[in-house]
Symmetry: C2
Subunit: 218 residues, 2 copies
DNA sequence: CAGGAAATAATTTGATCATATTCTGCGCCT
DNA sequence: AGGCGCAGAATATGATCAAATTATTTCCTG
């Protein structure tokens, strides 16, 4: 197995494992309902038990994985009620972050976000689902960083972890056509430092994305 | 050292440790800025390293503790910006839960909440700070349970963990006088199944509480 | 000679691992 | 069909290793 330290210079193993599993949840091959075993990760990643255990405990706390009472851990399966809750929370929080980002952003930030959005468009054009997921997440992560609100950003990141696998399933079903992209409107609002415009555009983006997920759960 | 299993029949050790430390954060003697060591808890609770590690990793993920870059874990110290973020998040989420609770509640739920609020009043009258903290948290936890929205409840619980220690400091400074208590208004709205009234009362309760915390941070 | 700063030694703490133990689920036998 | 082992996975422990902080010592400077 590949050396874990290769990509995490100086980071503790449990942190590296956390990021690997997190990426598997957001962009990788972990599907809703799929069981996740500790030993499987120990063997698959070549790490010890303790770091894997800590990473999983953290992901469970964030809602990215669920602890099934008996000693079984799985990727969460969203039902309609869960999607509704997630929509409510995202609509409540993410426009606020967009608002703050508009207040605090500078030209460099707009340029960075524009570049990310360009890569996102390229991924869509190529039909590259994983690329879309990565760049879409990157776009929102960068925007949240501009907002400079660490607690709200943490909360929103947790929400993304919860619907990540389901979003991926939806993209697998529908391809990269018809994907939500209010990013142009968000970028325009940021460029003219318009907080309310950015908030409105973000709300539209969130609503569109969550509608897709709701439509996708059989 | 006392037997950990005494109060946690059948629960895994890491779960028991998690609850103990969580209660120490919400109601106990852990102050903002105070360092929390793994070995200290291992010796203090009589548990092994792995369960303690897992419990701490979980609390860090929830924001109840912060990882200080180097390998140090402390109770978070809130600044004005953090209080502002927490206020925003609470105002966005908790009234929603109150609204749902009003829609779903029955007479038994109202009776349960009324009983808790009565104990809360008794604690205030006695000047019992810890009792106030416990019953106040209990009141909101019961209300959230009635709302039947597990994801939103999780998010809000995490927020409470973040401001718990600071709230306790404020109570220590000002005593139990002048404490926020819109609970009567909330209960009245629940009793008449009035979602908007419950949401408004909850918003007032949250705003009042967070204002106290903001005033208390030196 | 005194004070302070830098370097070093010692102790404390965190991270990881190998291993033992316990519990769950499943197949088998009665 | 129901109870009984058996396999496998999760939980928990203690030991070991590495890093960091703290205390101490030493050397240089005023």
């Amino acid at each position: 197995m590949v050396n874990l330290r290769a990509e995490g210079a100086g980071l503790p193993t449990h942190e590296v494992v956390y990021r690997q599993v997190r990426d598997m949840i957001l962009f990788g091959e972990l599907e809703p309902g799929q069981p996740v075993t500790i030993q499987g990760l120990v063997e698959g990643l070549g790490a010890g038990m303790t770091p894997v255990r800590e990473a999983l405990r953290r992901l469970i706390a964030e809602g990215a994985l669920v602890f099934q009472g008996n000693r079984r851990i799985t990727v969460p399966v969203l039902d309609a009620a869960a999607v509704e809750e997630l929509t409510l929370a995202r609509v409540a929080l993410e426009p606020q972050l967009a608002r703050r980002a508009a207040l605090r952003c500078d030209d460099a930030a707009v340029a960075l976000l524009t570049a990310t959005d360009t890569r996102l468009d390229a991924a869509i054009a190529k039909g590259d689902v994983r690329g879309y997921l990565v760049e879409n997440h990157q776009f929102h992560a960068e925007l949240n960083a501009v907002a400079g609100a660490p607690i709200l950003t943490d909360l929103v990141e947790g929400l993304w972890l919860r619907f990540g696998p389901s979003l991926r399933v939806v993209c697998g079903q529908f391809g990269t056509r018809n994907l939500p992209d209010q990013h142009k409107a968000i970028l325009a609002a940021l460029a003219r430092r318009d907080p309310e415009g950015a908030a409105a555009a973000m709300q539209a983006d969130v609503a569109q994305g969550m509608t897709q997920i709701a439509a996708g759960l059989s």
